[in-house]
């Protein structure tokens, strides 16, 4: 059905498609708005399709290797290189495939939404160029097997995101947000580059599998580990390095905010990949695991408590994004803390990691959905201020339905997907340390409380006279939200299938360092 050529070269095509789309859109988008919509929509649809084909292939046929510049895609080690994989290698294991699925679904839903939400703005050709570059950056980050290549895609992602956060200038405030984000992420990226230099100096390799095979956990490796953990935790918005998150998330256009959520998950992926694949059992699992758990707990508590008094609906949601990231760090951190102890790992470690990883995909879906509803409300009302809203349930019924789905999912109300991943985290973390599970549940209750407030103040109450002219959001925006809402509901109704087929392979691939290394080096 699908040509073998596409399946074989899907890792390269997945990067080429958005790049071609991005770099031609400044020319093609000038023709007319219809051509622009078809071009960028088509480029994103092709990218999503290829990414999904690749992910499907990985889930059915196992880890995929793609070597750039080699005569065959699987020739990882050139015969004259002395056993070092010198070429850039894409290595897509089930964990990467999960991130590809997230990016494909969110990226497509958001571009459908953007076609309508951004219609009245100028400079759209650069908007879509940067959008597709962001997609390139995310896809590259999650599928590369070369650590310097990871840095390059990280920088592509930061540059494109910063440009898009500043896109609406907004009297300079959006630029201020972009500035804060970009200064921090540049410093973080340079720290990662130092770490990469340390690896190269010690092991003469940039390939993650090669570094993992040679890992000694010397003092220099410990320094590199800390530099990478701190930088990527900052980029995914872990407290107390989250300060840029509410600024950037609230000032970016809503469609971009939804994509920034996916971008921060990609940083989270990088963090997990470093800890589990590069180091795995060599590192001091208890110390590093507890550091990540503490970051997670702080993120959950501070994020949700800062969200409650917020007046700006997007700032509020941004603090919730910080808080939800905490759950992922907590779940995977617990898995890391018991790494190397097979009985504990089987007892609850895998379950905690599956919960954390399941929460990544759930969060990308429902938080994207919530940000998109916030954008629809802003389009009609022209304000994000909760104090000036009210009674929109009378005029924006579909937006309300989508908001309710997203809000119930984020608060972990059954039968939506947030509940499924949270119950996995609660029950496994409870075995590890009951206090952490109690904190996680309290945070979930506060999340619900906060979204009750938002729901009440936006949609409830009598129709306000100042908003008597307000209409429902346009059709493409509803379609974009609808895609994400359907995914939220399906994942909520059939969590057993999702965990079994998508999440569990990802968690096991993350823990199984040997398989990742063997895919490149051939069973060392």
């Amino acid at each position: 059905m699908i040509p073998a050529f596409i399946v074989t070269h899907s890792p390269a095509l997945m990067i080429i498609a958005p790049l071609v789309g991005a770099f031609l859109s400044p020319f093609i988008c000038r023709i007319s708005s219809t051509v622009r919509s078809i071009w960028v929509g088509g480029a994103m649809a092709v990218t999503s399709a290829i990414a999904l084909i690749l992910a499907l292939n990985v889930y059915s046929a196992g880890t995929r290797l793609y070597v750039f510049g080699a005569s065959t895609a699987s020739a990882a080690i050139p015969p004259d290189s002395g056993g070092i994989p010198i070429r850039i290698i894409f290595e897509i294991d089930p964990m990467s495939a999960l991130m590809l699925v997230i990016t494909a679904i969110s990226g497509f839903a958001i571009i459908v939404y953007s076609l309508s939400s951004e219609r009245s703005h100028t400079g759209l050709e650069s908007y879509y160029t940067l959008y597709l570059l962001m997609i390139t950056g995310i896809l590259g980050m999650v599928s590369t097997g070369d650590i310097f290549n990871f840095f390059v895609f990280l920088e592509i992602l930061s540059l494109a995101s910063a440009g898009l956060i500043a896109y609406r200038i907004d009297g300079g405030v959006a630029v201020e947000a972009a500035l804060k984000y970009f200064v921090l992420s540049t410093i973080g990226a340079l720290a990662i580059l130092v770490a990469i230099g340390i690896y190269y100096g010690q092991y003469n390799a940039l390939n993650m599998a090669m570094i993992a095979a040679r890992m000694q956990f010397s003092v220099l490796d410990q320094v590199a580990l800390v530099l990478i953990i701190a930088a990527l935790a900052m980029k995914c918005g872990a407290v107390p390095m989250h300060f840029w998150t509410p600024d950037a998330y609230s000032m970016a256009p809503s469609s971009i905010t939804a994509l920034l959520v996916v971008a921060s998950q990609a940083s989270l992926y990088g963090l997990f990949r470093t800890v589990f694949t590069l180091y795995n059992v060599t590192l001091n699992a208890a110390t590093v695991g507890w550091l990540i758990i503490i970051l997670g707990v702080l993120s959950m508590v501070v994020g949700v408590t800062m969200a409650i008094p917020q007046k700006n609906v997007k700032r509020l949601m941004a603090y919730h994004a910080v808080s939800q990231t905490g759950y992922m760090l907590l779940g995977v951190g617990v898995g890391l803390a018991v790494l190397g102890n097979q009985s504990l790992l089987d007892a609850f470690g895998y379950m905690a990691m599956e919960g954390g990883i399941f929460h990544i995909i759930n969060h990308a879906m429902y938080k994207g959905l919530l940000f998109l509803t916030a954008g629809a409300i802003f389009l009609r009302l022209g304000t994000y201020n909760l104090n000036r809203m009210g009674g929109l349930g009378h005029s924006m019924k579909w937006t309300m339905v989508f908001f309710v789905i997203g809000a119930l999912a984020i608060a972990g109300i059954p039968p939506f997907n947030g509940f499924a991943s949270k119950i996995m985290i609660y029950e496994s973390v409870f075995v590890f340390n009951p206090l952490l599970a109690v904190i996680a549940m309290v945070v979930s209750i506060l999340t619900l409380a906060s979204f009750v407030k938002v729901f009440h103040s936006i949609f409830m109450g009598p129709a306000l006279p100042e908003y008597s002219e307000v209409k429902e959001a346009p059709m493409p925006m509803l379609a974009g939200m609808g895609i994400l809402a359907v995914v939220v509901i399906l994942f909520g109704l059939f969590p057993g299938i999702v965990v079994e087929s998508l999440i569990a392979p990802a968690a096991h691939a993350l823990v199984d360092q040997g398989a990742y290394v063997a895919a490149v080096l051939g069973g060392v």
């Binding site: 310097f148 972009a178 500035l179 003469n204």
Partner: protein, 114 residues
């Protein structure tokens, strides 16, 4: 001892850059700090690739000596290119902030808070 001199320079430059980034109030100076940080990291990468007596890996008319692996140079080149893009974007932010806020003092660029 002498071989560590470039690494000493790297650490010194990183510390100088961080001090500039943390203590200077002027946005442009902070950006200069970031540029120095980039240069320090680039110097670090180049230092890693140095081999005494090694020659450039160009095969045409190559003398019979050991060639160095060109990877660190390639990394540095990539990193420089990224650095250019970074500096350009940062400076364009500074221009807009200067126009809209009338100041590039970091203490006064704080309309987003809490």
């Amino acid at each position: 001892m002498f071989w560590n001199l470039p690494l000493v320079a790297v650490v010194t430059l990183i510390l100088i850059a961080l001090a500039i980034i943390v203590f200077k109030k002027n946005l442009i100076k902070v950006f200069l700090g970031i540029v120095i940080l980039e240069s320090a990291v680039n110097l670090f990468l180049i230092t890693l690739g140095y081999r005494e007596g090694g020659i450039a890996p160009i095969y045409t008319n190559a003398p019979p000596a050991t060639m160095v692996l060109p990877t660190p140079q390639a990394l540095t080149l990539t990193s420089i290119v990224i650095g250019v893009a970074t500096s350009a974007l940062l400076l364009s932010f500074a221009i807009i902030i200067w126009k809209k806020y009338g100041s590039i003092d970091i203490d006064r660029i704080r309309r987003l808070k809490e």
